[in-house]
């Protein structure tokens, strides 16, 4: 009497957990199919080449000009700037927290990093527009402070917690014997850090950087507020840019369903999806390699 119902229960629980387990896979697949279904229609009006390589973005004109090259370059430029700022800073901070800082300071620093990751992006954007943007304009004598560089700084702030936390884990995961061995051979603390520990932790650190990049690339709000959103091909970090994410966020509300503009925004979504997928995949591969060693 008891066994069959128990077996049934086991069966149910097993299936339920299975459902939860594959749910995220299903959702990713569904989202991609949805994006694809809506986005591909744009290629009835523009060729893939002139969509990806077009230099002008006038989505509501008649006929609409739908070239997203400035948007792709804008996103890449802002992201690249953020990486250059956040990666060295984040890794150095992780080393300090993991290896150098005294115990009490370490706990304080770690909670500060957590607080940093909890600041909503719109608040950062607000600070950016009132403080950072005028400051940069005066500092570099720019025509306007609403530039890719402002966006990079904002995004660097947002990527830092991810980079610090994961790098720190990777550094902590380096076997103690390596360090002991190095110290026993007469290496100083600093020599041990940059000759031994960094090599052991490298795949993890690279993965941390990649996840940070993924976070930066998909960020919308703060970027939209400080980069100026001009759809021109940028020639330097100190010019306004328009990113892929900001374009979707700013224009989706207006785009009438079924128009080329609407489909183009979904196609922009596909481009975003593919690029962030590639970034996350790279991070994953690197993390796995790290675990196997």
């Amino acid at each position: 009497m008891k066994t069959p119902s128990r077996r049934f229960r086991e069966f149910l629980i097993e299936k339920l957990i299975f459902l939860c387990g594959i749910a995220s896979v299903v959702f990713v697949a569904l989202i991609f199919i949805f994006l694809l279904r809506e986005g591909v229609s744009v290629f009835k009006t523009v060729s893939p080449g002139s969509f990806l390589g077009g230099r002008f973005w006038y989505p509501i004109s008649n006929p609409a000009r739908l070239g997203i090259l400035p948007l792709i370059l804008g996103s890449l430029l802002v992201t690249a700037g953020a990486i250059v700022i956040a990666v060295p800073l984040g890794i150095a901070a992780a080393f300090y927290i993991a290896e150098v800082a005294p115990k009490r300071l370490r706990t304080i620093l770690k909670s500060c990093v957590e607080v940093l990751s909890a600041i909503p992006s719109v608040v950062l954007g607000f600070l950016g527009i009132t403080v950072l943007v005028p400051f940069l304009r005066n500092l570099f004598h720019l025509p306007t402070g609403l530039t890719a560089f402002s966006g990079s700084i904002m995004l660097a702030f947002m990527a830092l917690p991810t980079i610090i936390t994961i790098s720190e884990d990777a550094i902590k995961a380096v076997p103690r014997e390596y360090k002991d061995g190095a110290l026993a051979l007469g290496a100083t603390h600093w020599q041990t850090l940059y000759r031994v520990v960094i090599h052991g932790a490298l795949p993890g650190i690279i993965a941390a950087a990649m996840l940070g990049i993924g976070r930066v690339f998909g960020e919308t709000m703060a970027v939209m507020m400080v980069t100026g959103n001009a759809a021109v091909i940028p020639h330097s970090l100190f010019e306004p840019v328009r990113t892929l994410t900001a374009t979707i966020a700013a224009e989706m509300g207006e785009a009438a369903k079924g128009t080329p503009h609407y489909f183009a925004l979904f196609a922009v979504g596909i481009v975003l999806f593919i690029i962030s997928f590639a970034i996350n995949l790279t991070a994953d591969v690197l993390l796995n390699r790290n675990r196997k060693r």
Binding site: S5, I129, R137, N229, A230, A250, G253, E254, T259
Partner: protein, 297 residues
């Protein structure tokens, strides 16, 4: 133990049901229309009109405490889209309906009724230290199309001109483009310069013009403040430059002005009708004046 056992399939069923619910609501997309009446009114649309809508909502709520009015912005297009899929009762809009929106309404089988509830002047603003104090419509057009790139051309300092525009979802953007760049022809080929900065809100434009000596931007009369310098605009070479004021907009002496609309689904009824009547009443029109727009009556 027994309770737990009997509860298990129920939980499973509930989980499955919620899964199905999520899937079905995701697949069928559009929502059915809500009736206009009821205890809660949703007003959505033009960012320019948000403050006006809120002031009306507050005063209206004092007269009719039983009706709650919620006002949100997002842009004229957002409001019109919301009235199509039934997520708001009144769309505030700072532009008229476009051809494709009229067709969309026709296809969906209902009539959108428009009511002009006020007038708005679009002001052109620069940094307070900018010596330029007036421009003609043609000069404005050259500036925003990116043909003239330095302030010195208009007697200002030798500085680059930084263009500030609203995003394409803004009624103000569309009005400025059609009225200034295209000289009133809505299908003209003129565009904003590709290098014009697209700002997400009127607030962002106000903030940047207040702090940046190179900037020129535009927004609704309601956003004027002493932190920016407002330019006088001349209709053409021979006419006098006019500063935007309530009187100059109303008399049409100021060249960049526009009507403000309420769009409703079909003939307004119930609470929607009450609010509309209130907006057009002397008290409602006094609120229009108090929020720096121009009354129609």
């Amino acid at each position: 133990m027994k309770d737990k056992r009997s509860g298990m399939p129920e939980i499973a069923a509930a989980v499955l049901a919620s899964f199905l619910l999520v899937l079905s609501s995701a697949s069928c997309g559009g929502r059915t229309a809500r009736p206009g009446g009821g205890a809660a009114l949703q007003i959505k649309g033009s960012d320019t009109m948000v403050n006006l809508g809120q002031a009306w909502a507050e005063a209206f709520n004092k007269l009719h405490p039983e009706i709650n009015v919620a006002v949100t912005g997002g842009g004229s297009g957002t409001g019109i889209a919301a009235i199509f899929n039934g997520t708001c009762d009144i769309a505030e809009s700072s532009r008229a309906l476009e051809e494709k929106e009229l067709q969309q309404a026709k296809a969906a089988g209902f009539v959108l009724r428009e009511t002009i509830v006020g007038l708005d002047g679009i002001v052109v603003v620069v940094h307070p230290s900018n010596p330029v104090s007036s421009l003609t419509m043609d000069e404005l057009r050259e500036i925003f199309m990116g043909n003239v790139k330095r302030w010195s051309v208009f007697g200002g300092e030798d500085r680059p001109i930084v263009l500030l525009s609203r995003e394409v979802n803004s009624g103000t953007h569309i009005f400025f483009k059609e009225h200034v760049l295209r000289r009133g022809k809505s299908k003209g080929p003129e565009e904003f310069a590709p290098g014009a900065l697209m700002m997400p809100s009127s607030y962002a434009i106000a903030e940047e013009t207040a702090l940046n000596e190179n900037a020129v931007g535009y927004y609704g009369l309601g956003y004027m403040s002493p932190r920016q310098k407002v330019l006088a605009i001349a209709r053409d070479e021979g006419s006098p430059a006019v500063l935007p004021t309530i009187d100059s907009v109303r008399s049409n002496a100021y060249p960049i002005s526009r009507p403000l609309y309420f769009f409703t689904r079909g003939e307004p009824a119930g609470a929607v009708k009450q609010l509309l009547e209130f907006a057009l009443s002397p008290e409602g029109q006094a609120i229009v004046r108090a929020t720096d727009f121009v009354p129609v009556k």
